[in-house]
């Protein structure tokens, strides 16, 4: 179950959020109304170089106090440029969480380590402040999610009022844990946002693996761990993206045996070193990124990227399509056709192989 649809404009055209909501609604029956969510990149041009931190605060009478605790953590390391409740449409869904956003800038002295610090802050708030969860922590981007149907969440968060060059979305059918706001997708850390269809049977191994690098899995869902794995492999370990994807969905030993000597060495090393990152079980994942990413040519490129990846034996669907500057990834073609009936190319990515779309210029 679960439905995924995402698209990006390679040229950086800004597209209104109602398009993604329309597309996701087409996958409504893949969810059960217990979780839907969106992430838009390029939506905060006024604060594009600052962090946009989205936090869920338990909607109890204490929520002011909880927010205060979050503020206290943030002001230790930098400045809150602006904060407000994320505008919502009342009366659509029961407000279990107050969604708050902070536009935030680190103190100059932390500039060189600000990403590591942001990760620590997110882990800290999620682990230590009862009733607060950071669910989005990148720049010029934001996650909007809740335990409700796709259109309800879109209306509630007034998605149509945001414009982004890349949108990912997800309709959830929780099978392992109860549906709750924090458990809805996308999962985000810094610029990484992950939507996932499937169940990761290696979750226990992956969780213990990332936790040994200091990440704290507190959101009770397997997708959270995927966001941390991306951050660990690509940002922290600076593994070329193709190889990072190979760590998550490794080549089979049979394939590795038939590779050239040099490739064999690399893929063998990946499996030996990153066995704990190997993801098993049915999955189709799509990852949006905002920050620079290490590519095969070794340079950290500034660029927005969208990655799609399925499990090694394709237990979950993933379809990709192109139209002019647009690239789509979805669990079903119908969702893509809903918002773009005429497509130049539609294809099914091979099992375990990734699809990468890069932005042509920095936004």
């Amino acid at each position: 179950m679960c439905g995924i649809i995402g698209f990006m404009s390679r040229t950086g055209r800004l597209i209104s959020g109602d398009r993604i909501a329309t597309a996701l609604n087409c996958l409504k029956e893949r969810g059960n109304g217990e979780g839907s969510g969106y992430v838009g990149y390029g939506i905060y041009p006024d604060y594009k170089d600052d962090y946009a931190i989205h936090v869920f605060l338990d909607a109890t009478k204490d929520y002011d106090k909880i927010r205060h605790e979050v503020e206290e953590v943030l002001v230790k390391y930098g400045y809150i440029l602006k904060d407000e409740e994320i505008p919502t449409e009342e009366g659509i869904i029961k407000k279990e969480q107050v969604s708050w956003r902070f536009f935030y800038r680190f103190d100059e002295k932390y500039k060189s380590v600000e990403e590591d610090m942001m990760v620590d802050i997110v882990m800290d708030i999620n682990a230590k402040i009862d009733g607060a969860f950071v669910f989005s922590s990148g720049k010029n981007m934001g996650v909007f999610k809740a335990a409700a149907w796709p259109l309800e969440v879109a209306e509630y968060f007034k998605i149509d009022q945001y414009k982004g060059f890349q949108w990912l979305s997800h309709a959830r059918y929780p099978t392992n844990t109860k549906g709750w706001w924090g458990g809805a997708h996308p999962f985000n850390l810094l610029g990484w946002s992950v939507v996932h269809n499937g169940e990761i049977t290696s979750y226990g191994a992956n969780k213990r693996y990332v936790e040994s690098f200091g990440y704290k899995c507190k959101l009770l869902t397997d997708t959270e761990v995927v966001a941390y794995l991306f951050d660990l492999l690509i940002r922290k370990h600076k593994i070329p993206v193709e190889y990072a994807m190979s760590a998550l969905a490794p080549r089979f030993w049979d394939e590795i045996e038939s590779m050239s000597k040099e490739d064999k060495k690399i893929h063998e090393a990946i499996r030996m070193t990153y066995g704990g990152a190997t993801m098993n079980g049915p999955f189709g994942i799509v990852v949006g990124t905002q920050e620079g990413m290490a590519f095969m040519n070794g340079e950290v490129e500034e660029g927005n990227t969208m990655v799609g990846l399925t499990d090694r034996i394709k237990l979950r669907p993933l379809v990709a399509a192109e139209k002019d500057d647009l690239l789509f990834v979805s669990s079903e073609e119908s969702a893509i056709r809903k918002i773009c009936p005429e497509l130049d190319r539609v294809w099914m990515p091979d099992a375990g192989r990734m699809v990468i779309a890069k932005l042509e210029k920095k936004i």
Binding site: E199, W253, T273
Partner: protein, 510 residues
Amino acid sequence: MIPSTVPPKYKVFVDPERCMLCERCTTECSWGVYRRQGNKILTYPNRCGACLRCASLCPRDAITVTLNQSCGREHPVWTPEVKQDVVTQAKSGCILLSGMGNAKEYPIYFDKIVLDACQVTNPSIDPLREPMELRTYVGKKPEKLEFDYVEEEIDGKKVKKAKLKTKIAPNLKLDTPIMIGHMSYGALSLNSHKAMAKAVKECGTFMGTGEGGLHRDLYGYSDNIITQVASGRFGVNSEYLNKGAAIEIKIGQGAKPGIGGHLPGEKVSAEVSMTRMIPQGSDAISPAPHHDIYSIEDLAQLIRSLKEATRWKMPVFVKISAVHNVSAIANGIATSDADAVVIDGFKGGTGAAPKVFRDNVGIPIEVAIAAVDDRLREQGNRHKISIIASGGIRNSADVFKSIALGADAVYIGTAAMVAMGCTVCGRCYTGQCAWGIATQKPELVKRLEVDDAARRVANLIHAWTHEIQELLGAAGINSIESLRGNRDRLRGVGLSEIELNTLGIKQAGM
């Protein structure tokens, strides 16, 4: 001689209606239980250890060996075994020796852990159709990979290519996560060793030499051999070290934590004496401590000198027995240049151990694996060292559970012996093993037919490997690395909260 005051433990009955007086039992029994007198087979049950060789091989199925419970007052504290031990010691004034593993009824946590399986939303995987990858590398791994970027010209265009910069330390490559642990030549017969060596070669895995050196007949199997260096340093020289694929330093053994090894002189035959480099007929005692190791630094020094002696081409393992502070020790070992830590639980077998140790010292392997894996991860040292679990691994489910708790691979010992015919009678220390397994007596050794025994051991490993593949498929996992430390696939039944927490698993239903 002080006479015994307790009756024999077993009753041996030869059915005169069935017996045809072939006298096979008189020759098969190495303990001297049977003797022919006229038209009768007489029995001496006080010599019987219930190895069941006689009953298995009697052509007329005339022999029954049963527990002799008919006599004596029943008492919950003073059980026949307790009384027997007191009497034996009253007679001899000696430490009681015993063989095989802990014989007391401690909880077997493996049996209180159940596995998870996939259903609709996380489909199980069919191992007959999809690859199930069990390949396991035992040894040090880097924490992360580093790449260099070089410019290459492809079709006249300059492109940058990533080249692997990180060098991977030597690892053992296993086709299945099951190895055969260290049982020395001396404790076991040469035929047992040959059979196991053939089997591991066929299965793409490894066996340990134990502390007994390596017999020349096994040199041909050196790609599948792990040599052992114990405190006695028997048989250790440069040739021996270089005849294996890895080296293991034995600090402790699950069946007898805190004490050294003891091979009774009766088992030190001419061949064993040559291989071990000790005088024939003398007891081979490995001292309790290594007299050059009193700290992690000393251990590190020995590891480095062994690596030096083998040109840094082999991984070095350190074997310790499971004791309560095993996680701290293992973490120390991880920082000492060792490539794997072998943790031997208190159900592990042995050729000869003081009974009081076998039955009372050490802790279960299940909790030890969980504790070690946790600590290594907490300290960021998990990649520096592989965990090999041993001591009471009885079936493929135990292997699966060990790996899910955090082990990389397991050693089996008793299971391989049982595959060869051992009936776990526990009298290996006498050197009289009627099955030809734990003996050096040529007439007994030849009873173990090498090819046949090798086939059984290989069959066992193959069978377990298939079962692990099936279990993985049921758990929706197609490569063993996703099982390692994946405690999410396990649930506890009938365990207290503190036991569940120690094992790091959830209660069934949660």
